[in-house]
């Protein structure tokens, strides 16, 4: 198969689109393999290969961040590395761009700096456990439904497609998934309110935008994280700011 590619190239603060042609691409190659092929071609002809991120190439690490034809990860319900060239028409022109969000500055070409996500996690995405001998696995009973729901939230790979898809550059889906994954489980209860407060504040400090309930994030998420977790985060945040921590030693008057 042959493709015309319109790729965002950036080195420094300004970028632009450049056109490329790749030929003899196997229909069974993945999108990233197609880009590898292009880069081989560019290197051989003395050109400058296109910088893009990838690692596991099996949909678990979340580093392969490309907006393909206006949709993060190509909009087919998986990650970019799980996208195959047979999904495209022979001869098609494909536009490839980086995630665009102020909080994700472009490092080079298609590579963005997503360390803002790491800082959100650092601000509250942990639980306190004692570090002695490993406890017996079933000492803390957890309802299977709750465990499953926590696992659904935990399946977020931190790729940032939700931010890339959001017209407001909001990181609500990611942050909500991370908050819910710990907040649903008994082990996450002690820091639950503190966690939601600090992670939401960090999210806003990092320059992500406000949610307007468009639902674009859920549509773009390769792991099908539901916006129900955003509702849950909103509820917890309201509680954390309006009622917790309550004044434990406050006095009451009977008259």
């Amino acid at each position: 198969m042959n493709f015309s590619l319109k790729i965002w190239r950036q080195d420094g603060s300004q970028g632009r689109f450049e056109d490329y042609e790749v030929s003899d691409v196997s229909a069974d190659s993945s999108f990233l393999e197609m880009l590898d092929q292009l880069n081989d071609q560019l290197t051989e002809s003395g050109g400058d290969p296109v910088a893009f991120d990838s690692d596991c190439r099996e949909g678990v690490c979340g580093t392969c961040c490309l907006v393909i034809n206006g949709r993060p990860h190509g909009g087919r319900g998986g990650t970019t590395c799980q996208l195959y060239m047979r999904h495209f028409a022979d001869g098609e022109t494909i536009t490839i761009e980086p995630w665009r969000a102020t909080a994700f500055p472009v490092v080079r070409d298609l590579v963005v700096d997503r360390s803002a996500f790491d800082r959100i996690i650092q601000s509250g995405g942990y639980i306190t456990v004692h570090s002695g001998p490993k406890p017996e696995p079933n000492t803390m009973p957890i309802e299977p439904e709750v465990a499953e729901e926590a696992l659904d939230a935990a399946s977020c790979i931190g790729c940032g497609a939700c931010v890339a898809a959001c017209p407001n550059g909001a990181a609500m889906l990611f942050t909500a998934a991370k908050i819910s994954h710990l907040g649903l489980l008994p082990q996450g209860q002690p820091e639950r309110m503190e966690r939601v407060r600090s992670m939401v504040e960090k999210m806003e400090d990092e320059g992500f935008g406000p949610c307007r309930n468009y639902g674009e994030c859920e549509a773009a998420c390769p792991k099908d994280i539901s916006i129900k977790f955003i509702g849950r985060m909103n509820r917890d945040y309201l509680r954390a700011t309006m009622v917790e921590p309550y004044d434990r030693r406050g006095k009451m008057k009977p008259q």
Partner: protein, 262 residues
């Protein structure tokens, strides 16, 4: 408490809560306002007096003699004014933050889920703002056409305006904006406040669609009833009828319900 409110307001999530709560207050007002407006279709309780005029006077009399005449009406107006101001200020601040979070767009952007109503909230909202100012100037203050406006003679004022197409058209645009805004907004409130869930989603989406249709059809039934002749001219000249109201309905709050039943 106030410290907590300030902390909430500082955050984007908190501003969204303010938008949601004030939006909900305005939706609540619209439901009551619609119910009141539909009294225009009720028969005259007394020869020469339109039912809606009695109702308007009764609203001013709520709480009398414990509260001054018109107190409840004015309190409601102030509360609504505060709601509109808070709603708009928060929306504008949030909108500036979203633009800052997303400098530079995609060469090609294909939406997958967002509805037109959601994407055009700012357009429908700003249309509403202009509409609200016009509506108050027209039917509350009466400065749009002072020679065709008599304070307290609601039926007469409605008849004068809505028998002419330009007014019908302006109100149609206003109500289309309301319907569009509420179609997304009345659901969005539940999500913002964290009340929506997959099990309740159909209910809340249904409420939003239902309210949008109710407002569109309910409010517009009035101008269209006048322009099509379903509703006729006022039962008496407006000056005379203001006199009847004052003389005949000294305590309209007590009289009105039984009059309506008859």
């Amino acid at each position: 408490m106030s410290r907590r409110l300030v902390a909430l307001y500082r955050s984007q999530l908190g501003k969204k809560v303010v938008v949601a709560v004030t939006g909900l207050i305005m939706v609540g007002f619209l439901v009551v306002h619609l119910a009141g407006n539909l009294k225009v279709f009720l028969p005259d309780p007394e020869p020469g007096v339109a039912d809606i005029d009695v109702y308007a006077e009764a609203l001013r009399e709520i709480g009398v003699p414990f509260l001054p005449h018109g107190a409840v009406v004015w309190a409601t107006r102030l509360a609504l004014l505060a709601a509109v101001i808070l709603h708009v200020v928060c929306v504008l601040q949030l909108s500036a933050q979203s633009r800052a979070a997303r400098r530079g767009g995609y060469a090609e952007r294909r939406y997958q889920r967002a509805t037109w109503a959601a994407r055009l909230m700012m357009v429908s909202g700003l249309t509403l703002l202009v509409y609200i100012v016009f509506h108050l100037a027209h039917l509350t203050v009466g400065v749009v056409e002072p020679d065709r406006f008599v304070h307290g003679a609601l039926y007469y004022n409605l008849y004068e305006a809505f028998t002419r197409w330009p007014f019908v058209l302006i109100y149609t645009v206003g109500m289309a904006a309301v319907a569009f805004h509420v179609y997304h907004g009345a659901w969005s409130v539940f999500q913002t406040l964290g009340l929506d869930s997959p099990e309740r989603n159909r209910l809340f989406r249904g409420v939003a669609i239902g309210l949008a249709i109710l407002f569109l059809v309910g409010f517009l039934s009035i101008p269209f009833a006048f322009v099509s002749g379903v509703l006729g001219p006022p039962p008496s000249p407006p000056e005379e009828h203001a006199g009847i109201l004052q003389a005949g309905f000294a305590t309209p709050a007590d009289n009105a319900p039984s009059e309506v039943q008859r």
